[in-house]
């Protein structure tokens, strides 16, 4: 028991004062909902929505293949949608990386004041309403949209291209909204790259490709991996981009979950799908953290020895 009147006791009281209310709030309204959703995912769906309080594993069975009853059957479509979500998220990561990597180099070599202004310009769209930014792409990609109108006016095409409601549109939309997410961690590690090291590599006889592969890439890898994971996570579970730019044709897992709640009214199944998304994200995050700590150990050991 910590006595009152000691430095320790006073600090304990202050700590409770600081953490008490937020902990209570998050315990009820954040952990509570997650616990209930986890529970729901193992309950039987009611006939007209709602749940029946029986332990029920077929919600997961429907997704992964062991459900084979009269009412509940395995449907590979769910896994397909899931695979498509992963694929589109990976495309988003790849494309945004390809776009941001050269830009990060370009900005890192600008004079200080301009550098800060450019970073401000990149961060700014993050604060612009998401729906507004996506709406812009609807206007651009529609059959009667800006791109088609422009191409037809120039005589390059005479039929509008089908761009909206495709996987391409979904990826472009996600890349657009997640560019700051990819850029900032990438830039942080590109900025740290000492140009003298690149020159040293040239000086030691490495060509451009060799220098890139042996010096630049390894040095900026933390930013690449960090940016990738930060883009991958919100892309995978995204719901708003595919619903606006993918339409009914390009369903992602987020849309599937929405349907279970708002139209199919199968809450336990929707909860089970949500748990699967959560699990995927947690696993990818865990792999990332493990990789990072391993790398830290490899690179940090010789440096520490030098310092000691």
């Amino acid at each position: 028991m910590i006595g009152r009147g000691t430095a320790k006791g006073r600090r304990a009281a202050a700590l409770v004062g600081l953490l008490g209310a937020p902990t209570l709030f998050l315990g009820i309204f954040f952990l509570g909902p997650l616990a209930i959703m986890f529970t729901y995912s193992w309950l039987e769906p009611g006939l007209y929505g709602g749940v029946v309080w029986n332990f029920y594993h077929l919600n997961y069975g429907r997704i992964f293949g062991w459900a084979n009853t009269r009412y509940e059957q395995f449907d590979p479509a769910y896994l397909q949608i899931f695979a498509r979500s992963v694929w589109l998220a990976l495309c988003t990561v790849g494309l945004s990386l390809a776009i941001c990597y050269p830009a990060a180099f370009w900005i890192s070599r600008q004079p200080e004041r301009r550098k800060n202004f450019f970073i401000f310009l990149i961060t700014l769209p993050f604060f612009v309403s998401l729906i507004v930014r996506l709406f812009a792409w609807v206007l651009l990609l529609r059959p009667t949209g800006f791109i088609n109108q422009a191409l037809m006016a120039l005589g390059i095409i005479d039929q509008p291209l089908e761009m909206i409601f495709t996987g391409f549109a979904v990826v472009v939309g996600m890349v657009y909204i997640f560019i700051p997410f990819m850029f900032l961690p990438l830039y942080a590690s590109v900025e740290k790259l000492d140009m003298a090291m690149v020159e040293a590599s040239f000086d030691l006889g490495a060509g451009r490709w060799q220098t890139f592969r042996r010096v630049i890439l390894p040095m900026t890898l933390p930013g690449i991996v960090g940016g990738s994971i930060i883009v991958f996570i919100p892309s995978l579970g995204n719901f708003i981009v595919p619903s606006l730019l993918g339409g009914a044709k390009v369903l992602m897992i987020g849309n599937l979950i929405e349907q279970q709640f708002l139209s199919a009214r199968n809450w336990p199944f929707g909860a089970a799908l949500s748990m699967v998304v959560m699990a995927t994200i947690l696993v990818s995050l865990l792999l990332y953290v493990r990789q990072m700590t391993r790398e830290e150990r490899v690179t940090a050991t010789p440096l520490n020895r030098q310092e000691a």
């Binding site: 937020p22 998050l26 209930i36 812009a136 995204n238 909860a271």
Partner: protein, 275 residues
């Protein structure tokens, strides 16, 4: 330096394209919000303020097309809800997030690393999962969906954003300053009022502004936990978009754009000033 001269020029061209990619769509909205063509929004047909007139409830002169915004009252209601929710949710989460940030930065306790990890959870969780979890929670505990449920829902993830911004600010602050204050006779509360708070204030304001903007902008979570008569602006626009694209949306989007750019610039300016 000569040997990457060509590469350098190439990079500059690339940089221009990069910013064009980011800003062209936004500029497009602004420009075409003044387009007088009521049939195809993307074909320029002269300048008009009609769409702005429409959303502010004035009679439009140029167009005889049916008033797309069913009622400006609904739009205003959504704006009011958005502002109300953002104000309350960002205030509450600023207090909570700052409290947790101070506790984690300044105290030694056993659950510290748990809190640190826990604060990142709402950020890695897909919006739709959190939105649905909250929906299930409110429905199964019998809470009626309203602006209040939206406020609670927003707080659950805004606390994390405030926590991260304020934590960064506290990390820059010398812990010894608080000891110096105690040494000079100030108790914990006086130390907080006179030393800690003034020094972390830019971070707290920055975090609060960020929370306000994110709350104003949130669509997915609000979409699930908004009651029938408690629509917010993003949800309202989302509904409009799903029913069809009409020119008035350009005008609304432009106004939102200007608003968020002004608020964000103020916030980023405050953060840059901390040196």
């Amino acid at each position: 330096m000569k040997r990457y001269g060509g590469l350098s020029r190439l990079l500059s061209v690339y940089g221009f394209l990069f910013f064009a990619f980011i800003y062209a769509p936004i500029v497009l909205i602004v420009v075409f919000s003044f387009n007088a063509n009521p049939v195809n929004m993307m074909i320029w047909d002269g300048f008009t303020l009609d769409w702005y007139r429409t959303i502010f409830g004035f009679p439009a002169r140029l167009t005889e097309s049916t008033l797309y915004v069913e009622s400006t009252r609904q739009l205003y209601g959504a704006v009011r809800n958005s502002l109300l929710v953002a104000l309350v949710a960002s205030s509450v989460s600023t207090v909570f997030g700052t409290a947790i940030a101070i506790a984690v930065a300044r105290f030694r306790f056993r659950l510290k690393s748990f809190y640190r990890a826990f604060m990142f959870m709402p950020m890695i969780m897909p919006d739709i999962v959190l939105g649905i979890a909250l929906l299930i929670f409110f429905v199964s505990t019998g809470v009626k969906l309203s602006v209040y449920t939206i406020m609670i829902g927003h707080c659950t993830f805004l606390i994390s954003y405030v926590f991260i911004v304020v934590s960064a600010r506290i990390a820059d602050m010398d812990e010894k300053l608080e000891e110096a204050s105690a040494d000079l006779g100030a108790n914990s509360w006086q130390t907080f009022r006179r030393v800690t708070l003034p020094l972390i204030l830019p971070g707290v304001i920055g975090g609060g502004l960020l929370a306000f903007i994110i709350s104003m902008d949130d669509l997915v979570i609000t979409y699930f936990i908004a009651g029938v008569d408690s629509t917010t602006l993003p949800v309202f626009i989302y509904g409009m978009l799903r029913r069809g694209i009409k020119p008035e949306i350009n005008a609304i989007a432009t106004i939102m754009l200007v608003f968020s750019i002004v608020v964000a610039s103020a916030g980023l300016y405050l953060r840059a000033r901390r040196k």
